[in-house]
Amino acid sequence: MTVYEQLIPEYINYWFEVGWPKFIRVFWFFVLFEFTRYILLDHLIYLVKWIQKPGTSKGYEWAKRKLFIENPFVSIIIPGKNEGENLYKLTKSLAEQTYTNFELIIVDDGSDDNTPLIGRNLEKRGLIDLFLRNQVRGGKASAANLALQYAKGEYIVHLDADCSFDMDAIEQVLIPFFLDTRIGAVGGNVKVRNAEESLCARLQSIEYLKTVFVGRIITSHLGIYKIISGAFGAFRRDVLDQVGGWDIGPGLDGDITIKIRKSGYKIYFQSKAICLTSVPKTFKRLTKQRLRWDKSIVRFRVRKHRDVYLPNANFRWSNFFALFENVFYNIVLDLTWIIYMIDVFMNYNSQLSFIIPMNFTLYVAMGYIQFIAVLLFTERRKEEVKLWKYIPLMTIYTGLYLRLVRTTAYYKEFFFKRSYEDVWNPTKSSKMARRFGF
């Protein structure tokens, strides 16, 4: 045995010995779906964007100039419940913005804490332009719609109260509207602010960088970007009026994005419009959040908007692929992964000692390669590179934990429509939404 062979672990040498055909046969799930989508595609897109960069930069500068010349009035709306303690910080963050021609509308959706007091006070001090309160809670969608009702801006920027923003965030999220008139909505780039607070938050920080940041750059470039985060998104007012505003959630941000796509508008992801948000610090709270999010994939992308898969007058390939990619990589591959696991355990039971470590190695390696993609795209390279040591844990986080949560959510939603029972929405609204298929 050579020195070189001695340095490489036995389970890797094993795969060199058996050759590529068997490697692909055993790790078909990784090779077919994960590697192609998350490695090949990501880097291919990066390459394309890198090549196109000089051209887009020119268009971008022109759009920016046009934004400031036209100086459209913008309404920033923030619906929420019990968000009082976040409001002052939020107003401070917005006061720093480079784009200033906006009004700030806060909707308090039946808070039972001191939010009304804080909101009224900020309104009196002129830090909020309009503070609206629903005495009776109606849910986030109705709160957003109420803000929309009184918004006077040409563009509506929807934010979450617990977020903070880069000082050019509003400017950046508006610029794409001046790049292409067919853009109906722009998604901001949501990153994690509290990564230092727990391991759970650090893992989410990496996840956000991979799926929200790089993931959405890729889908946006391919024209299949399908979710504008509720935390930070900008919409053309006329487009929102056209689609009737927000429908009942959970998952109303994804729903409205699809509605806008179906209306024939483009959706754009603006990676330069940076918003920082606080993510759940514990796995218990994270599980609750993800169950809610994942149920909405079934509710909206499989059930409510199933018409995008059907050949009708409104059919568009881009919409089809946007939802199909999402449903395929989440729901279909979730089931396929179970089949894959059965396949491995039934056919290669005796070689598990070589398969499991190799599988882990592959995912860790893929994690680092994806992380390289993150570092290639990001503007916060120095801060985010520090997360590198947590990449190996992402295999367990995304490969097992999130997959398990996701599968549970799909099961509950498919068979029991549990999203309509979520306390996130008032029962009165969920009941009627279920009855009328919203």
Partner: protein, 459 residues
């Protein structure tokens, strides 16, 4: 028995109660107050069926500059409609059946009025007014109870005072009463709190919802409707379709509140500037001066019941000395014994060349309790007693004290009666301090007030 007589045609009737030797004048017109010498009668009955006439007669009597008239017992015919609104102006009502009772009341008021003596040295109008008020309360045995009165700027009237002070200036009554309560003539008990205009203190305020942006009162308010099934929310008018309501977003009919929709809140729209808001700014327009007050600018006044204290009763009977106009700055300062001696000597020399008299007072407290106190506590008592003495002295007068138990003071240019009165007041209040403040009932106070003109230099 009593008889009702009319001496001459077109003159007021008189009610004579021979056994008691009482004569009461019956006034029917406001002119009668001027034409006839009301002061010489024992009381007044107001006999008219016109409220305005009655009010004017009562005002003329109570606001009369002659205290003999202003404090006169006055009764109003119980047949006058709506007399309760002016009840602060008279002592009671009468009817034919109640004459005997009222005669007793008149007798009693007059008897108590006779107990009160003339004012001493009252040159200040406010003090004089309060002196009259004290006498009024004492003679009637009543406290100053606020009575609701929509004509008063503060919404309340006080017996006697409100007939003297103009209704638009009613806030002055509160200030006066509070000022003299602090001195100790009245015990104050708050019964209500009112808000007054920042500019004129008027209590007639019109609270209005205004636009927070342009202050316009032209506002429109509308309920918001939240349609459950599609989460659409908009003003009610947006949902209105002739005879039913329909959601403009999903075209569904809204049938049942609580099932299909609810009304989570309401929104104002300003018809002047189109501003939309949920919290209208409340402003208070002063009906009297027209000033539009922000709520936080409004003044707060407490409306209280003012009851005569023993000190107040004493002042009613024996008179007040004008000492309260500037209670802090007008007090005489306590000087050293040596300086006191020097001033005393000079004053004796001065008195030898003039006709005026000055008085020297001396108070000795024979209290074992005080003597047993430490130095600090003795000093506190000393300051307290000096304060009490200075309350009754003119700012030009002098005080000194050698210890917590011995005090001397000089009263410049006073007549004997006033000097004795001041001495008595000082003694009473120092006794009260020792009794109530220190709970020392074994003490003995020696008071000596002597004329400096006849005294030899003793320091």
């Amino acid at each position: 028995m009593f008889e009702l007589i009319q001496l001459k045609p077109n003159t007021p009737k008189l009610l004579r109660y021979e056994r008691e030797g009482l004569e009461v004048i019956v006034l029917e017109k406001v002119q009668d107050v001027h034409f006839y010498d009301v002061a010489k009668y024992d009381g007044v009955l107001v006999q008219t069926q016109r409220r305005r006439e009655a009010t004017e007669i009562l005002h003329e009597i109570r606001a009369n500059t002659n205290p003999v008239i202003s404090l006169k017992p006055v009764f109003l015919s119980s047949t006058l409609p709506g007399y309760s609104g002016i009840s602060y102006l008279f002592d009671g009502t009468y009817s034919d059946a109640e004459f005997a009772v009222r005669i007793q009341s008149i007798k009693e008021i007059n008897r108590r009025l006779k107990e009160t003596k003339i004012d001493i040295g009252l040159v200040n109008y406010d003090t004089s007014l309060i002196q009259q008020t004290l006498k009024f309360c004492y003679s009637r045995g009543i406290s100053l109870e606020p009575q609701r009165n929509r004509n008063s700027a503060i919404g309340f009237s006080y017996p006697f005072l409100s007939s003297v002070i103009e209704e638009k200036d009613s806030i002055r009554i509160l200030k006066l009463l509070d000022q003299f309560s602090k001195v100790g003539y009245f015990a104050k008990q708050t019964v209500d709190v009112i808000q007054g205009c920042k500019k004129c203190s008027g209590g007639y305020l019109n609270y209005r919802e205004t636009c927070p942006r342009c202050s316009s009162r032209d506002l429109k308010t509308e309920d918001l409707i939240h349609h459950f099934s599609c989460a659409h929310i908009a003003p009610e008018s947006v949902f209105r379709k002739e005879d039913h309501m329909e959601c403009p977003k999903c075209d569904k009919k809204l049938r049942h509140i609580g099932i299909d929709y609810d009304k989570p809140s309401a929104v104002y729209t300003c018809n002047s500037c189109d501003h939309e808001f949920q919290n209208a700014k409340i402003k208070a327009l002063c009906v009297d001066c027209g000033h539009d007050n922000e709520l936080h600018q409004l003044q707060r006044f407490s409306i209280s019941n003012y009851e005569l204290t023993p000190m107040g009763e004493h002042a009613a009977k024996y008179g007040m000395y004008e000492i309260h106009e500037k209670p802090v700055t007008s007090k005489p300062k306590c000087i050293s014994l040596a300086m006191f001696g020097m001033f005393r000597k000079q004053e004796i020399e001065r008195l030898n060349n003039t006709d005026t008299i000055s008085w020297e007072g001396s108070i000795k407290l024979n209290s074992e309790m005080i003597k047993g106190f430490g130095e600090n506590q003795q000093q506190l008592i000393r300051e307290e007693v000096q304060n009490i003495i200075s309350e009754y002295l003119h700012k030009a007068d002098l005080i000194t004290s050698a210890s917590a138990c011995w005090y001397r003071f000089i009263l410049f240019d006073k007549d004997e009666e006033m000097a004795m009165k001041i001495g008595e007041l000082v003694q009473n209040n120092v006794t009260k301090l020792l009794n109530d403040g220190l709970n020392d009932h074994t003490h003995d106070i020696e008071l000596l007030v002597t004329s400096l003109k006849t005294e030899n230099d003793r320091v």
